[in-house]
Amino acid sequence: MSDRSLDGRVPFGDIRQIWDRHRFSMNLVNPSNRRKYKVIVVGTGLAGGSAAATLAEQGYKVASFCIQDSPRRAHSIAAQGGINATKNYPNDGDSVWRLFYDTVKGGDFRSREANVYRLAQVSNNIIDQCAAQGVPFAREYGGTLSNRSFGGAQVSRTFYARGQTGQQLLLGAYSAMMKEVSKGHITVYTRRELVELVMIHGRARGIITRNIITGELEKYSADAVLLCTGGYGNTYFLSTNAMTSNGSAAWKAYKKGAYFANPCYTQIHPTCIPVHGENQSKLTLMSESLRNDGRVWVPKARNDRRLAIDIAEHERDYFLEEKYPAFGNLVPRDVASRNAKGVVDDQRGVGETGLSVFLDFRDTIKRDGKEAVGQKYGNLFEMYNRITDEDPYSRPMRIYPAVHYTMGGLWVDYNLMTSIPGLFALGECNFSDHGSNRLGASALMQGLADGYFIIPYTLGNYFAAEHPHEDIIDVEHEAFHEAMQSAKDRFSELLNIGGSRSVDTFHKALGQSMWEYVGMARNEAGLKKAIEEIVDLRTQFWKDLKVTGTDVGVNIELEKANRVADFLELGELMARDALERKESCGGHFREESQTEQHEAQRDDTNFSHVAAWEFKGVDAVPERHIEDLIFEHVRLTQRSYK
């Protein structure tokens, strides 16, 4: 395993001027020439939807692909909380610099300064754009936009649209897309899944998709390919991701030579509704705001299955308040999650499965009254009640952490281009802006920043500088036939294993290994065990998988098998990355690297870098490249919540 230094191609200069100067120095494509360029955008979430719409407005010919039946359904819709921007409308001291600083710090100093600064810079344009599109943001009585403080931020910089911010922002991007569809600038291909990336002369020049309805493999060529396919949290089987959220598009790109950066950075959210049993298919997130008033506790005694009401005050362990008197129940996500797992591992978990901790509103209800609590949390209590059939007003809620977001992703340079020329990655699909942990209300901001305000410039620069369209190719090129054949072979292999186990049994087994060893707390022995288990599971998969049906028409099992086959490789890389990063930072906690108070201990001397992995073969060890992170504007500090 050899390390080389990787260049993020960040322009030199004062961080406050880098983006402005870069926009000036980048090459432009003449407006009348833009229609000669074809762009493929895979995914229609906030990043993909906004990119497709904006590029089409500029005059490029856009082909947009999504796995759902409509671009409006991408999983960005599920984001509830809000979107950050540095408007400083509340006049409470926010600025581009402060958002930049908070984001770098929140990412535990594992992100690129220049990228984060640019993100904070364009954040205001996003709000302007979305408001103009008709996104129904919350308003004050005077008609101006309303802001709230979110995720422990000390300024109110979060814009929101009831509990549907993600949905409303996506409907904005989707409507912008449909406007371009009506003008003939975008062609939308729904219910398609990327199954191969096509490379010609060292550049990304097209994709092979599988039509989920007909089962047909289809070829599409372009001058550039944008992957906006989200994160890979479903490697854990259970997560807050949607059922079709998958890592396959990024994984195909990785296998064609795109580097995969920091795959081990996973965000685990502490306030999810716990698992009810083995048939659970997905986890539901509840807003973190619940921790403002709820008290987290478990019984002091092990295996105590009594009802909460029967457990006396002195028998209760308010473990967060006890351990972190200053922050109490409001410690950051990763700290809250890790401690919950700690007490559950100690057999003090509650509920029928023992896989949860209490989040108790008893004292708040006593203090403020049922009505006040209802006004604040009524919707969340109702949702909780609907799913669990338990009434949070009369008995404590039960919560447990769940995988929520992946900060890692395809490595991209300052222009959002992966290590494959012509292949770009946007939104959660790339690794760039959140370091090792993401702040609340920043995912929506990043997706839209990439799509509306960054790629439109940097993609033009790529076209104008490299002229890919002069290398005329079409889907009859032999590279397309080869890619098609390889996809065909893969599906027929999956169909013909003739084993006895369904796809989900493999996915669940993978999820168990990942959760146990590559979850909230990781250590060397566990990670090695995880790699071993995953490799073994993968061997089993290719020997004993059972897929019913054929490759013609809808075949839900075949679709899933194809994705799980990729997760079985991706999971291994996540474990490998976690193993190599012998420090704790953000969402990555290595038990070997903790302070005396059991807090995450960064190792800035040895790990202040991005780890970008290069594929060397499915069963070969990938190569780990390093991009050094240099902090000139933000002072590195150690977190402490005591």
Partner: protein, 267 residues
């Protein structure tokens, strides 16, 4: 969950090979259903059993499974998204049923929503309606400062009420006429409650309704079943609003002349 609490259900499920073939209701018996399962997890369980018997699993649409993406559908015992108000199928739990119950599970049915396989339907018609005008034509970069366009709180709230539509199509499925008026009116109301949406208001309303008609949706007879099944509680007051705005646009707007030409084209 203890064994005692597991339920056994009789399922009558619509099975259809593909868009061209004829389908039929098929009977299954499923045991081992936990009351804590969601409706879709119950179907997952059925599929695991079908696969173990080398049978074709039941295809159905679903994605986020938290009631917001609008992908899940199904008409359960004659009602879109099942018996529970303000609830999508993915958020419906099996504790709402009793062991021994017979459940009819059918796809959303409408000429404009053809069945693709089993319980999966094609709702691309909704995208076509949006493409006909369900947007504000503003290019990226040309927006004024967000606070330059004040919106009264009441209008912002009404716009949000309408914008909460998740585009699932339950309104069409539940309407005895398969009318898409609730969907169209929600989108029109969302934009028409906002000052940003005024510029294109007449054009939007005329073209979206023309597209809706051309796609073969039925006519609204004001029965409000759509509102009753809507998982987001979209109100039929939006339909009234659409009706009066349409009439005004049709009679008074200069856009309506150009629309007449468009309409001729679509017939």
């Amino acid at each position: 969950m203890s064994e005692r609490a597991k339920m056994t259900l009789k399922l009558k499920i619509w099975r259809q090979e593909n868009a061209r073939s004829k389908g039929r209701m098929t009977d299954y018996t499923l045991s081992g259903v936990s009351p804590d399962m969601s409706f879709l997890e119950m179907l997952d369980l059925l599929n695991e059993q079908l696969i173990s018997q080398d049978k074709d699993p039941v295809s159905f649409d679903h994605d986020c499974r938290e009631g917001i993406c609008g992908m899940c559908s199904l008409v359960i015992n004659g009602q879109a998204h099942g018996p529970e108000a303000l609830t999508t199928t993915c958020q419906l739990h099996m504790r709402k049923f009793k062991s021994g119950d017979t459940l009819f599970i059918e796809p959303f049915r409408a000429k404009a929503f053809p069945v693709l396989k089993d319980l999966m339907v094609d709702r691309a018609a909704f995208d076509e309606i949006i493409a006909a005008g369900g947007f504000i034509d503003i290019a990226t970069g040309s927006a004024p400062d967000a606070n330059a366009i004040p919106v009264s709180k009441i209008n912002a709230d009404l716009a949000m009420d309408a914008a909460a539509c998740i585009g699932c199509g339950a309104c069409v499925a539940s309407c005895k006429n398969a009318s898409a008026m609730l969907f169209v009116s929600a989108k029109v109301a969302h934009l028409s409650h906002l000052p940003q949406g005024q510029v294109e208001a007449d054009k939007r309303i005329l073209s979206m309704v023309a597209k809706m008609d051309a796609l073969g949706f039925g006519n609204c007879t004001n029965e409000a079943e759509c509102q009753a099944v809507c998982p987001k509680g979209i109100s039929i007051s939006n339909i009234a609003r659409l009706n009066r705005q349409y009439l005004r646009a049709a009679l008074l707007s200069e856009e309506s002349e150009s629309m007449d030409c468009l309409e001729e084209g679509s017939h």
